[in-house]
Symmetry: C2
Subunit: 369 residues, 2 copies
């Protein structure tokens, strides 16, 4: 992306943020009650759009106004947060949710009252601004942790440095929290697909065995529930390079959930699905039928506990798990009463994942949609 | 390190592991009771060596023999684990603790008994073998998570790839779990010091601001309590390139503890201090006196809870915190009743850490030893 576009994009976001303050001033000058109209972020305002395959927000909005005893403090806080976010845009800096809380915290003049008493007061306001201004958190320059890693036939440009992900050994490139085009440019990608691996331990196995070279893929992990940067990178590779995305998770309700968040977004952050979700992502395993198919002994399975069982039953009811294959998948787990970690494949052989399991899965197109 | 040395080092470790099985066979052939002599890994066998500045193991050993009803199963398990570890050496693979558990788990023939029922049975045996064979876990090819990141004037060679850590943008190189010379070679390092940062959020700030370029240092983080790979890399840079290591942590008992583990090792893994600890590491902050010195308002401090207070009092008694400066440091925290996160520096300015706090610390040599 050309430098000019990047700058103008940042200008747009800054203008939106400044607009929040402007609307207050304009209203005050007209002796009107300053009011913000904020989309409602609650379960009641969330739908699963079957056609698009994503969880999305409805159209309900709520007014937040200054001359309302119940809303005045929150209104003031919203403006303070918008101001801090505008500062980030102007200085071209990124920061964390926590630092925004600290930045905007002070004691109100001639009082003992703090602008904010805890981060739990500032975080929701950042989400409010995201939905109101239709700007991703990343576009507001707010980062989360960066605990993702990538290797494979992919060249990124980060701060002007050309990062060739085929030349980073086993270790790989540490995926930043913000991978928006403003910060990270994808300059080359010759891979056939993305393999998004839940846990670092399998990613390490695949990286050590140079699986990406043999199968011409991009190996990506978030070391657990994938952080936003990892999801956004997968989404960009999917969208900009039309790469299929295969998700490899443990065989437990948590694994299904991770997959579903990658695929259609989450209920809590429904407004982000639009630019985070990958509705065509495939679940490549670990499937309930795999232990039998790959001859794993039952004693490497782990007994489902009550929490697992309840969670699996909840998943069975989700609209996005209504396909017959998915019902069978989840019911299969419940019927054996066992869950399996991918690590259990080591029972066969330390390299079973690389040399047998995934090659066969890919050859047989054995995945769920 | 030349390829030959690497191979011969791996041979040595493999021989040690095979030796465990051999000693069993030899004893059996001589109609003797096969016995392993294992150093005792308990608090009673741990000392702080003031002269060397590290926590180290004493010389007590215990016998583990096969013809002893109470020890037979554990003996058999130890041999199984040694066998799996030897397999890793022969195939030149690395794996996780969890996979070793799965690899060695099976049902004993003609019985319903498992070799292992949980990973809590195999993990301690790996530690037993580490101390018995005097081989670091990394040398046994057992990895932990890799959640560390590095940037700065440092060139590593990983799997034959030359990784220049000045050319990896803001994201950086993902530090692998195993950074032994067998896997990672340091081919160039022109830095003046290592800055080991507890949290990713400060590391991101420093990386974004290219602090490493201005202060010619290596920026390293483990995103929390530093994982083994990060500690080993810092130690190697300290030892092989004589770089001072400065540790930047939050101002709380947990921060002091993280620093102390980096510096003199931990009680639980005392046998590793020898090759993990950095006795000359300095604590550069966040110090109890910093909030006053840098004019932070008290309302960004967090009230110490009972757990914090008890932990701080425990730390006061540790032999390695007996220096007057350290007693003042910890008592300073207790007397204000407040702890501070580094994130709170954002209260002054988003770049306060990079532009004011650390430059002044470095200029004034303001650190604790």
């Amino acid at each position: 992306m050309a430098r000019k576009n990047i700058k103008s994009h940042s200008d747009v976001v800054e203008k939106k943020l400044v607009g929040v303050a402007d609307s207050v001033i304009t209203a005050a000058q007209r002796n009107q009650d300053p009011t913000l109209s904020i989309p409602v972020r609650s379960l009641a305002n969330v739908n699963f759009n079957e056609k698009r395959g994503i969880i999305e927000m409805g159209r309900r909005k709520q007014a937040r106004s200054f001359f309302n005893v119940g809303m005045a403090k929150k209104f003031m806080q919203t403006v303070l947060v918008a101001d801090a976010l505008a500062e980030l845009q102007r200085a071209n800096l990124t920061t964390s949710l926590r630092e925004i809380y600290y930045r905007t915290k002070h004691t109100i003049k001639n009082s003992h009252e703090n602008t904010f008493d805890g981060q739990n007061e500032s975080d929701p306001l950042i989400e409010d601004l995201e939905v109101t201004l239709e700007a991703l958190r990343e576009e507001l320059h707010v980062r989360a942790e960066n605990s993702g890693t990538v290797v494979g036939p992919l060249v990124l440009v980060d701060d002007g440095d050309r990062v060739d992900c085929t030349r980073l050994g086993k270790g790989g490139y540490s995926v930043p929290s913000i991978v928006e085009p403003e910060y990270i440019q994808i300059s080359k990608c010759t891979a056939d697909f993305v393999l998004l691996v839940e846990k670092g331990t399998q990613w390490n196995r695949l990286s050590e065995d140079k699986f990406w070279r043999r199968y011409n893929c991009i190996l990506l992990t978030g070391n657990g529930q994938p952080p936003r940067g990892v999801r956004r990178l997968a989404r960009r590779l999917h969208q900009e390079y039309k790469l299929p995305v295969y998700v490899l998770v443990d065989n437990d309700p948590w694994g299904y959930y991770i997959y579903s968040v990658i695929k259609q977004g989450s209920i809590n952050l429904a407004f982000e699905s639009e630019r985070m979700a990958i509705p065509k992502a495939k679940f490549i395993g670990f499937s309930s039928s795999d232990p039998d198919r790959y001859g794993l002994p039952r004693n490497v399975g782990i007994k489902l506990n009550d929490k697992d069982i309840n969670r699996a039953r909840e998943l069975l009811k989700y609209k996005w798990f209504q396909k017959k294959e998915w019902q069978n998948e989840i019911k299969g787990m419940l019927s054996t009463g066992l869950k399996y970690e991918l690590d259990a494949l080591a029972n066969k052989d330390f390299q079973y994942l690389t040399k047998t399991y995934l090659p066969r899965k890919l050859k047989e197109n054995d995945w769920l949609d």
